[in-house]
Amino acid sequence: MRRHFFLRFFDSDLLSSPGQWRAVAIGIVAVLLSFGIILIPGLFKKYLLLARLPTPKPYHLAMLGDILGLILLVMTLTGIFTAIQWHSLFPGLRDYQVLAAYPISLRDLFAAKFTALLAFGLLLIVSTTLAPSVLLPAVFAGDYAGNVGAQIPAIFVSASLAALFMFFSLVALQGVLLNAIPVRHFTRISLAIQGTLLTTLLAGYPLALSLVRPSAIDHPPQWAIWLPPAWYLGLDQLLAGNSDPFTTRLAELAVGALIAGGAAAVGTYCWGYKRHRLRLVESAAQPASRAHLSGCAFAPERIIRDPRQLAVFAFIGKTLARSSLQRLVLTVFVAVAAALICNSFASLLLSPGMHRSLSAARALRQAAVAAPLALSLFVLSGLRYLFRLPVEHRANWIFRVNQAGNEASLLAAVERFLVCCAVAPVALLTLPIELEVLGAAAGFEAAMLCALPSLILMEVFLVQSQRIPFTSSYLPGQRPVIQLLLIYGAAVSLYVSSLAALIESSLANPATAICLFVTLLGAWLFVRGSRKQRIQTSKLEFEELEEPVIFSLGLKRE
């Protein structure tokens, strides 16, 4: 049973086909290990330059800053993974239903789940911390570095314990929620907390990193004693041989917090395991409240007259509003975009002399233009991915029996939904930033110029899939995770950074701006026309097909 629960942590419908847990596990571990390796070349150059300085202080401050950055990173990654697994931290309704007929005691079930959870957490933490713990001290090697040999275990232990503290805290948080919140409110509140956690962790990490300044590390403020990453930096310093009173105090707090977190996690497991089953089974039997349904209700009748378009538009809206998985995935994409935007602004606003430098002012203007582009890229990518995930795939017969002759109308609803619920809100949400940074006229101009690439991107996504959202089968794991990260990295660099620079430079010259506007408008109309033509000649897709290369080899997935 322990093995079953452990493997279930990797058996995600989003990442792989059922049973392909090995591919997911190897992919996750590979990505985590790669993080450390990717960071090294940049750091190496930095420390080479710092080693040439006449005093060791900047070198030491940089070391402390990077160790703190690593602790923050592993805490954030652990938090993100735990938040993603939020609904698997305790036994689920399916576990109770499937195992109900077997002679397994509730205590055994919980013990198996908890040990599997702990094993998953430890694997995750060791994968995240192992490579950086070796590579970071290797970069520190030099005259100013001190005892590098002691740094390897110090960084590994402190970063791992920091991650474990984060992991235990989140498990304990859910344990408290499970026991404290009434059954009828639990699902809603739990989902809200999961979304908030993901957004805070994803968007907060770059912001926190921007706040780590050398002056704050040199003379840590008293309130640092309230910051968990600072506790584990203190622990690292103590293990590396620095035993001043402030460091010792921070290290004591680190150990105390870890013990308290672990005890709270175990405690909530022991406290609630009997009540948990009762609550879960009872809440499953309770229908959702009418208020919940009516609260999510859309009123698209006012803007759409064609009943078939209205059917698809309302279906997409209701599915997004009511499916926890869909909301979670969209939250992750929006949080990544928010993180990028926060990071670009924070690093600019906090850099010294920012207001005086001409290039920094231009960078700020570019960041304002990049905000809608980044947000639209991630919101549209998120929706494109979400639309591919089926919701009760076998219920798609209702669309299939009504698709003949209505393809154009049904797909027009998807376009309308994306314009109304993605492109337009992104443009409106980011308009105040553009107006504030660029001024009224240039702000509106930038908003218009940024809306067109969003529309082109939307068309590119739509032309790739002739399907009604949530109705087609899904083949997960078609691309390795690393390849996906590289694609998104390239997209951010090309679509966001390059286009933002182009739009920002065109704002100074009305003729250039008009030329750019006409070019983008032409491109949008061309892509849209091609897609509309394609709709007339092809049928809707309800089954996701294998990659063409697989077909050409004559191979089929089992």
Binding site: L293, P307, R308, L310, K318, T319, R322, W397, A404, G405
Partner: protein
């Protein structure tokens, strides 16, 4: 009238149905029978447009359905074998989805949906998600969705599954009345006593081929069997139930 000639569907060269031909006249309820894997659901899926046939012709009022799928699909109402519905939608929203996809104007759709929900005793639960409905309630919702646009041809695949006795009785009477109004009904089922009560004629499939097609009474006379169940057992050559039971009991005791 619906005419089907030589309908064939092959999967990787293996025929799920092979040269199936039959006709349904206005006012007729045709029972479509066969053991598991005989090809009933394949035929139903072809008729609803869910899958394409490998060969054969379907004519509806003289119109080739494969050449005019839109006109045909507007006239059919369909209750699928399993009650697959979107669990996050409420009963009323399911009917709105069905009605809108059929292109019904809002005023007509809302009025009919409300009346059907009341008549099928679903009104109180109209705004609850379908995930909280019982199997019978979902089946009733599917029936409402199939009737919402007043179709000329009803395709029912195991329609009484999960329904209580009273609702099943109401629906039996309803089907009879709909047939009296000239509608065509294809009734695919395993429940032979219900088929015997409501169907005017039956088709029996075995291994994808039609082995019998006639009125229920004539089949009983021809096969010299007192019930449709006897006719069915003789035509489909099922294993002896008593021998199977003995085998199962031996297996669990060994």
């Amino acid at each position: 009238m619906l005419d089907i000639h030589g309908l064939t569907k092959r999967y990787n060269g293996i025929a799920a149905i092979d040269g199936v031909s039959f006709a349904i006249r206005p006012g007729e309820i045709l029972g479509y029978l066969g053991p598991n894997g005989a090809g009933k659901s394949t035929t139903v899926k072809i008729l609803t447009g869910l899958i394409e046939p490998s060969a054969g012709e379907i004519l509806f009022r003289g119109l080739n359905v494969r050449q005019h799928p839109v006109a045909f699909q507007r006239l059919i109402g369909y209750v699928p074998e399993e009650a697959y519905v979107y669990p996050h939608l409420s009963g009323r929203e399911h009917l709105q989805l069905a009605g809108r996809l059929r292109g019904l104007p809002r005023r007509i759709m809302d009025r009919r949906a409300e009346e059907l929900l009341r008549l099928f005793s679903l009104w109180e639960d109209r705004d609850l998600p379908l995930s909280s409905y019982s199997k019978g309630m979902r089946q009733k919702t599917l029936f409402c969705g199939a009737l919402l646009h007043n179709p000329d041809f009803l395709i029912l695949d195991e329609p009484f599954s999960g329904l209580d006795v009273h609702t099943a009785l109401v629906l039996r009477l309803l089907l009879r009345r709909l047939a009296d109004e000239g509608k065509m009904i294809l009734y695919s089922s395993h429940v032979l006593d219900v088929v015997e009560k409501i169907c005017s004629s039956v088709i029996i499939l075995r291994n994808g081929k039609v082995v019998a097609a006639d009125a229920v009474e004539r089949l009983r006379d021809l096969m010299q069997q007192p019930t449709l169940e006897g006719v069915f057992a003789q035509l489909t050559a099922q294993d002896d139930p008593a021998r199977l039971v003995s085998g199962i009991l031996e297996a669990i005791r060994s």
